[in-house]
């Protein structure tokens, strides 16, 4: 085994080296830029990428992720560096390094405490709001730098308000430094914006940030060699990398470790670093062509260790980064070695091209960040959030504004509180949440046919999603799973979004996970992730958008050339004539798939009386018969005991099919007719196919399997079974 693995590793090594190379082309300018944006020495970002790449590729638990300095931390680090030292940037930087080391230690601890589930406790909209705020933060600061104004600082709001002034200054300035720096910035921004739009194979080979580096370095050489002039931009506007990287490292200073600001910084850094990493890992797992599961806790430990080492060497935090990871996947990386090589190439660039790196204006790097910041905070994000629901838009805006005007921690807390409050308002019920939040609400077991059944009760939201997640993670993605929310009064958008991720994960590995029991839940919008709330008057048609299962049923109907009707007032056939429904009251039929004589439908019915009354949902297949057939009930021995309550029914043995009689409980009123109906063909068909409960009321057949809603996969199987059975009966009567 190990030999085979080793072979595979060597086999894929070239493509991993190549992928690492391409990623390093982005990582270099980004590393420099992110560090500059945090007011840290530019080299610190590259240190983080190098240490991260080496340490995490050795100790990490994910497969194709890339680690290095992250966007999310820019704002926190900037605040830390500018405030912790009381205005002294160098001192502030050293204190911040100490905070980075501490946060690394905490991340290791989180890994050991298996807190990889941490990110699940944050509502997805609140996280998006926070990311948007980070985007605004990056944008506000870097916009000035991009236009050559490196001295603008102050609070976020001031920075935003100063933007017109900087633009005006750029247009009217006489200072050639200012002007050329600004031009370099604008050209770089143009490269970022248009890179994706130019569909040229060779142009696309090199990522946009590297084009910017080429442009900046090229411009410098153009002046030096062609025009034989000085570089038009003064050194002050160019990035500053120490000539000897290894002798100029800064070291952390732990003097103020006990102060409140320091501790608050550590908490913020750890929180953002963990959330950013965990979300990235989750997203990259979906991109992984081999669909492997990442060990998030192992990754947390590795990231923590890398952060500590990076901090001691004067580098920034190490987090898992989504953009670089996706480039990595696109370049066909297969394992962690690409992360390692990305680090190696960075180191090589740093040693070989020190002189050239000096030629890059800060404004060019700032353009990369302006673009990144804009992408994080783009109005289109706002639009996509509002599509999920108005409530989500409010949460998003509350989180965004709170983060901008206060701090990240307070912002995300506000987002969580706002989300909870909207849930309470939507449900007009606090008790539902308080009474049940600490209770286990997930049941999972394997059904007799080997598929997994998961039932969730009370409510399912970001508050208790980890319980559901812990259960779902126990299922190999190659299995069949049915997740039933019909006992859940409320399902929030965080859960809906995560369930969608699970559906994709299972699909990728040829498994099948389906969500059922949500079509009694109303939504505010038609977005697939919109929160769903059980409606009291659950059978009306207003206020409902189709669930995923319903849209899938619609597709099935199309495939078969059938008609799909989500809601109906009419009842089907003479349902109450069936023995099964003699003791059960049909409340509604929904999700009809109809074609001539055949109807597949969900039926909601009650069993028992008064207080013992229970609402039951099932999926059934009804076939209207063209010929009159005998009345019978075919059942697996003893499965639905109700049959035995009727004394007129008795177990009928089909002659010469003792095995069939052993396996099935066949009963009916007219023994002779039934025996002649069950010909050899029909007996053989029933024996060789999956078991279904089958009933006849002379004019129709009712076929179903379980006393719960069927998944789409089960629906297809049921239709197939029903049609073949129908065909067999038709042939029989045609012959007669």
């Amino acid at each position: 085994m190990p030999n085979k693995k080793g072979n595979k590793f060597i086999e894929t090594l070239p493509q991993n080296i190549f992928s690492g190379f391409v990623v390093s082309l982005i990582a270099l300018p980004l590393g420099l830029g992110l560090a500059l944006a945090s007011e840290a020495p530019p080299i610190s970002g590259v240190i983080a990428a190098v240490v991260g790449g080496i340490v995490v590729s050795i100790f990490g638990g994910s497969k194709v992720t890339i680690t290095g300095p992250g966007n999310g931390l820019v704002v926190v680090l900037l605040t830390a560096i500018t405030t912790l030292g009381g205005g002294n940037l160098q001192l502030g930087y050293m204190y911040t390094l100490a905070a980075i080391v501490c946060s690394g230690a905490i991340m290791i601890l989180l890994g050991f405490l298996r807190m990889g589930i941490l990110s699940d406790f944050f509502p997805s909209t609140a996280i998006q709001g926070m990311l948007a705020a980070i985007g605004v933060g990056i944008f506000a600061k870097q916009f000035h730098v991009m236009l050559g104004n490196t001295h603008e600082d102050g609070g976020l709001v001031e920075l935003l308000l100063e933007i017109p002034k900087t633009i005006q200054h750029f247009v009217s300035t006489n200072d050639h430094n200012f002007f050329y720096a600004g031009i370099a910035g604008l050209v770089s921004l143009a490269i970022m914006v248009f890179h994706a739009k130019i569909r040229n194979k060779y142009f696309q080979l090199i990522p946009a940030p590297m084009w910017i580096v080429f442009f900046a370095v090229g411009m410098s050489y153009f002046y030096q060699l062609v025009l034989k002039q000085e570089h038009p931009i003064d050194e002050e506007w160019l990035i500053n990398i120490p000539n000897d990287v290894f002798s100029n490292l800064a070291f952390p200073n732990f003097k103020i470790i006990y102060k409140f600001e320091f501790i608050a910084t550590v908490v913020s850094i750890t929180l953002i670093a963990s959330i950013e990493s965990l979300l990235s890992i989750k997203a990259v797992d979906l991109l992984d062509p081999l669909k492997r599961r990442s060990n998030v806790n192992k990754d947390l430990k590795a990231l923590g260790l890398a952060t500590m080492i990076s901090g001691f060497l004067g580098g920034l935090n190490v987090v898992t980064v989504i953009a670089r990871s996706s480039v990595n996947v696109n370049n066909k990386a297969t394992n962690r070695s690409s992360n390692f090589f990305h680090a190696v190439f960075l180191l090589v660039f740093l040693l070989l091209f020190q002189k050239q790196l000096h030629m890059i204006p800060m404004s060019a790097l700032a353009a990369i960040l302006v673009y990144t910041g804009y992408r994080l905070a783009a109005p289109s994000n706002l639009l996509s959030v509002s599509k999920v629901g108005k409530d989500q838009l409010i949460i998003f805006i509350i989180t965004l504004l709170t983060t901008i005007f206060t701090s990240l921690i307070i912002g995300i807390l506000a987002g969580i509180v706002a989300t909870f409050i909207t849930h309470v308002i939507m449900n007009k019920d606090v008790i539902l949440f308080f009474r049940n939040v600490l209770k286990p609400n997930v049941l999972m077991f394997k059904e007799t046919d080997g598929s997994y059944y998961v039932s969730i009760k009370n409510f399912s939201s970001f508050l208790n999603f980890f319980r559901l997640k812990n259960k779902l993670n126990l299922i190999p993605e190659t299995e069949n799973v049915v997740v039933d929310f019909s006992r859940c009064r409320f399902v929030d958008n965080t859960v809906m979004e995560n369930m969608n991720t699970y559906v994709e994960k299972f699909e990728a590995k040829q498994g099948n996970l389906e969500v059922i029991g949500l079509d009694l839940h109303g939504t505010e919008t038609t977005h697939p992730f919109a929160s769903r709330r059980m409606m009291q008057k659950s059978l009306q048609t207003k206020g409902f958008s189709l669930t995923k299962r319903q849209t899938n049923l619609q597709i099935v109907a199309k495939d078969f050339g059938w008609e799909y009707i989500p809601y109906t007032e009419e009842s089907i056939g003479a349902m109450s004539e069936f023995t099964y429904f003699k003791t059960r009251q049909i409340q509604a039929t929904k999700n009809l798939l109809q074609n001539n004589n055949d109807t597949l439908f969900d039926v909601i019915f009650t069993e028992g009386a008064f207080i013992a009354r229970q609402l039951i949902r099932s999926t059934m297949f009804h076939i209207k018969m063209e010929h009159q057939i005998p009345e019978f009930t075919l059942d697996k021995e003893g499965l639905f005991e109700f049959v035995k309550q009727y004394t007129e029914f008795s177990d009928i043995e089909i002659p010469n099919h003792s095995d069939f009689s052993k396996r099935f409980y066949l009963s009916g009123t007219n023994k002779e007719d039934i025996i002649s109906f069950f010909t050899d063909d029909i007996v053989l068909f029933l024996e060789s196919n999956n078991y279904y409960h089958i009933e006849s009321n002379k004019i129709g057949l009712l076929i179903f399997k379980k006393e719960r809603l069927a998944s789409v996969k089960e629906v297809k199987a049921m239709i197939d079974f029903g049609l073949r059975f129908e065909k067999l009966i038709k042939e029989k009567y045609a012959r007669a």
């Binding site: 990442s294 077991f445 993670n473």
Partner: protein, 277 residues
């Protein structure tokens, strides 16, 4: 084999009185038991007459004894249980504002833990006879699990039940799922444990006399999760008519403050519950 020879029901003169007494009469008839109807409070002819009339209307033919005693309900009832060597105590559930939710009041909760005999908690308070077709048993391994299973079979016989499902909760102690490899390990481990549990339970069933097993379909079902937390949910999903379980032991100082499965089940009674002791 446990026997329900003496059944006790508390009679509080509440709207539920009639239903409670009728249900108790019904159980006493099924098990050929002597019925004790106990009222906490002063004795009066009016009350006695009222009780007598309910019993008469039901056409109860077994032995019956009325006891009136004053004092604190928990102490008095548990004393009477002890003195008369009661085998089964029947308690009724209360309803939440929402008629589909039921729970057990504080007094009944304390009694459940205090008395030494088995306790039947009735959720379904309807006058109509309710058939207990499907019985779910908590088969969790404990000192008393054999007693729980045996009691359940005895009850099933008395109630002519058709189906018994014995539920084992399989926890993945020590084996955490992080990635594909640990998942494979955990899956294999889970299957092995399920097999072990099945064997353990089959051994217990093998010792139960044949006559208690005839006509009953027996199913073993393993569910995922920490011991004792999801059984109520399971009983609800499969729509069991009766859940049989034992009282879990509270060990350790920390666990004393935590809710255990019995608390969960009592606070949200999923179905009728028999606590075997």
């Amino acid at each position: 084999m446990p026997k329900f020879n003496k059944i006790l029901v508390g009679a509080a003169f509440s709207p539920n009185l009639k239903v409670n007494i009728i249900q108790a009469c019904r159980f006493a008839t099924y098990f050929n038991a002597k019925l004790y109807v106990v009222h906490i409070g002063a004795s009066s002819n009016l009350k006695l007459e009222q009780l007598n009339e309910i019993v008469k209307n039901f056409e109860y033919k077994g032995q019956i004894e009325f006891i009136f005693k004053e004092g604190k309900p928990i102490e008095v009832l548990s004393d009477i249980c002890e003195e008369n060597k009661i085998d089964l105590l029947i308690l009724g559930a209360q309803q939440r504002e929402n008629i589909f939710k039921h729970y057990i009041g504080t007094v009944a909760k304390k009694l459940t833990r205090k008395v030494k005999c088995s306790v039947l908690l009735l959720r379904n308070q309807s006058k109509v006879e309710f058939v207990k077709k499907h019985i779910v048993i908590n088969g969790l391994e404990s000192e008393s699990s054999e007693n729980t299973i045996v009691t359940a079979f005895y009850t099933a016989k008395g109630l002519s039940s058709k189906k018994i499902t014995i539920v084992e909760e399989i926890a993945n102690e020590g084996l955490k799922v992080d990635d594909d490899r640990s998942l494979r390990k955990a899956t294999i481990n889970h299957e092995r444990k399920t097999h072990q549990e099945d064997l353990r339970i089959k051994k217990i069933i093998a010792n139960i006399p044949e006559k208690y097993q005839t006509g009953i379909e027996i199913k073993l079902q393993s569910i995922f999760g920490r011991s004792g937390y999801a059984i109520g949910h399971y009983a609800r999903v499969v729509r069991a008519d009766l859940l049989v379980m034992d009282i879990p032991k509270k060990s350790g100082i920390f666990k004393r403050f935590m809710m255990d499965d019995l608390d969960f089940i009592l606070s949200e009674l999923p179905t009728d519950v028999l606590i075997a002791k």
